[in-house]
Symmetry: C2
Subunit: 239 residues, 2 copies
Amino acid sequence: MNAKTTQLLSLTPLEKAPAQGVNLWVYHSLRRALMCGQIEPGLPLTIRGLAEVMHVSPMPVREALHRLTCEGAVEVRDNRRVMVPQMTAARFKELYELRIVLETHAAESALPYCRPEHITELERLDNLIDLAYQHSDTGEGSLANQEFHRYLYQRNPFQVAVPLIESVWLQLGPFVRFAKNKLTQHYRIDRHKEALQALRQQNAFALRRAIEADIRDGLASIQAVEGIHEHFKEQALSA
Amino acid sequence: MNAKTTQLLSLTPLEKAPAQGVNLWVYHSLRRALMCGQIEPGLPLTIRGLAEVMHVSPMPVREALHRLTCEGAVEVRDNRRVMVPQMTAARFKELYELRIVLETHAAESALPYCRPEHITELERLDNLIDLAYQHSDTGEGSLANQEFHRYLYQRNPFQVAVPLIESVWLQLGPFVRFAKNKLTQHYRIDRHKEALQALRQQNAFALRRAIEADIRDGLASIQAVEGIHEHFKEQALSA
DNA sequence: TCTCTAAGATTGTGATCATATAATGACGCC
DNA sequence: GGCGTCATTATATGATCACAATCTTAGAGA
């Protein structure tokens, strides 16, 4: 109807609806797009625009955007426009430090619950990561990597940190578009193997070290991209 | 209209509307009620019921409940009923450990940004806590305590952990109804004073110790309540 | 040609309506 | 008398509408 509603946001590779409600379908679609860095920061997201692109009524989009807002995935500018937050070097650093703090804790608290069959499953997930990266699909690789970590942390049946960790992953989503495949592959000297070894030995300290190293490797693979800093908005914008 | 809609949930001390939208007013009202443990876990919360109690249309309530859901404050049972999660000892322990991990990190990352005037403000907030507890208002005291912590962590202008910390506070809300005033006062040998001293000296290690001790004190003040474990639902429920 | 103002367009919010689904209770059958 | 099935009810979800706030843009005046 409107010229602007058919925005530059055709970047929405619609996923299947798991017969679970339009609400969740929209939410998961947007979430995945954000996780894979498919939505450019600064691009204004409108309820009606997204509704038109996804061929649904504005209501499910409204709820999905609200949910993403309170998860920190998108940000409300002024009180009108919703957009993916601009990237700043400082924010990037804080988010990665938060990842380390949260995930080493989650890993350690999951350690006592790890049974051999769980380690077998983790090995399978680790292989899937390699597979995804060999297909040179950065987004898929990142998602597969997250599944490995999530499965590990969720061994603790009383886990309460996973939703928070996912929130941090979500906020880091816009950065993955800069993770180069080759670098990532090169730097992935398989800290996961170290983690699995630590799990087998029930060695909490080694597990923490492996998880932290794994996260720092991912960090390095992004920072190593030449000219990365040109993609960061200077924080003077909002000041 | 319905007999059940006028539920046992008259426990909603409506707060003022800051002329900021009915949406946020409902959200903050519910949030505050949860923070102060004024909503009994297990009590079914319905959109229409809350809407009738608060004299608003169901729409703002729907959005507020969704938001609280994704913050972990309430839980969707089956796919119909929404309720405050039952308390279990394991969950309680996990949440407090998460508090320690997150807040010691947040405090340390805020340390370099702390200026003398900020410390003055923190002293003022600390006095407010004493004041609230002298009025023997556990809920208000807890909120005042949170303001102290939040103000400290937000000294870091790039802080990204505060929303996560608030989510944990929210999930701990149902427990504060068990924090006894006298115990709390007694145990509050003012770890905050230690924290302030560490801030003045820019001593990161001491700051972490003070924050962790402060949190553990609050934990102890709850666990010291005799018969507390009778209030925990056994986790066999959902198994 | 620049600027200020006003009107139109755009968009988020809240309300009302329609529909699908789960819970509850009643009736009938075994 | 107990259990299974069906109907009624209650509730969440999704759509559409109405309104208010904001942004954009065009036009007029200096």
